[in-house]
């Protein structure tokens, strides 16, 4: 199937073809969405091997449950949710989050992390991946995906308080990492 015909295919035709079990349609859908979904997988897993597994598992889930998709939301959003859930499921198998006594954390405002805006995308991904699995999951879900603490608590099986405290700690670690990186970079510039 050539690129011209790919462009002519609407999303609904693609979905219908995939539901019918048309392998070509499934392949087109895969190549259309896999880079974005692979980005999600990489963000949650932190390593290529796990990301590959997540991508494979996620797409098989999508193709097998495509008839359950209701066109009341965006298809990409539905897919992304499946990938996030798959990643969390995978993450929960590996790491168990314990509910901790809620402590007053020094809240770090999102503005304080705006320094990340000046950084390259690759570097931001590296910094996020340096976070521990628990911090990374909460940070990704809340800050990037936009899940509420209530949703995160339900998905991860923790309390809202734990979710909040995990996020605060994640932001703190991330801020320190950014500062360290900035200092190193400025030092390098001075030396040169």
């Amino acid at each position: 199937m050539n690129e011209q015909s790919n462009h002519n295919l609407s999303e609904s035709d693609l979905i219908k073809g995939c539901i019918a079990g048309n392998r070509q349609m499934q392949e087109i859908l895969y190549y259309q969405f896999s880079p974005k979904m692979y980005g999600v997988c990489l963000r949650y897993s932190g390593n290529v091997e796990d990301a590959n597994d997540l991508l494979q598992e996620g797409f098989i889930k999508i193709f097998r449950n495509l008839e359950k998709f209701r066109a009341d939301g965006s298809f990409e959003g539905w897919m992304r949710r499946i990938f996030v859930n798959t990643s969390i499921e995978h993450f929960r198998k590996k790491v168990k989050l314990y509910n901790v006594t809620e402590v007053q954390e020094n809240t770090i405002e999102d503005d304080e992390l705006n320094i990340l805006d000046s950084m390259a995308e690759k570097d931001i991904i590296l910094l996020v991946n340096e976070l521990s699995p628990g911090y990374k999951a909460v940070f990704n879900m809340h800050v990037i995906e936009g899940y509420s603490h209530k949703e995160i608590a339900a998905i991860l099986g923790i309390t809202e308080g734990t979710s909040k405290s995990q996020l605060a700690r994640a932001k703190g670690v991330l801020k320190k990492s950014v500062e360290k990186r900035m200092n190193r970079t400025s030092g390098d510039i001075i030396n040169t």
Binding site: Y30, S34, A51, N52, E57, L116, D117, M119, V143
Partner: protein, 201 residues
Amino acid sequence: MQNYKDRLYNHEATPPPEIWDTISAGLENKGGRIFPMNALRRRSKFIFYGLTAAASLLIIFISSVIFNKSGDNANSKNSQLTENNIGTQKVNDSLTQNNKTLAAIIKSSKDKNPGINNEDDNSISKVKKYITIEGPEGQPVKISPKVATLIESADNEYPPKPVWSKKIDKWKQIMLSSTISLTSTSLLDIAQLSASLDNNE
């Protein structure tokens, strides 16, 4: 400049091309279980390590069998050697006993009165009634110790020459000094005696 959140949200990366093949294969066997790539890698690792372990065990088993066989050969050789050693030991023992017997006879012959049973005679009878010598074809032959004193070993090794020579010399002396033994004068006497007997007839 785009917000870091949006950039992370829209972050894209190209997955390895073989993933689609795995997904496609997974979709074909609908009822079948799909193994994640990591699991497949782990499984292949497990298979690899399993095969390596099996091969190692096989090599150990084969080498142990080979070594056992060679060990058996060595043992059989050793046993043969041991048997040979035992045989040699027996011969040596026999020789020692023979020598003792002969030495006792030689010693006893020094005693002028053979009628007296001294300790040496007793020791002879105690030590051995017969001695064993090697026959012309290597077979063991039991002979009386007295006869043994008349035998001279061809290779001067059996029985040991000093004892043997000593004994022979002693016998020579006895024969020369004996009046019964044939001398040149006694031969003339015999000739005269036979002539007179003829005349008488």
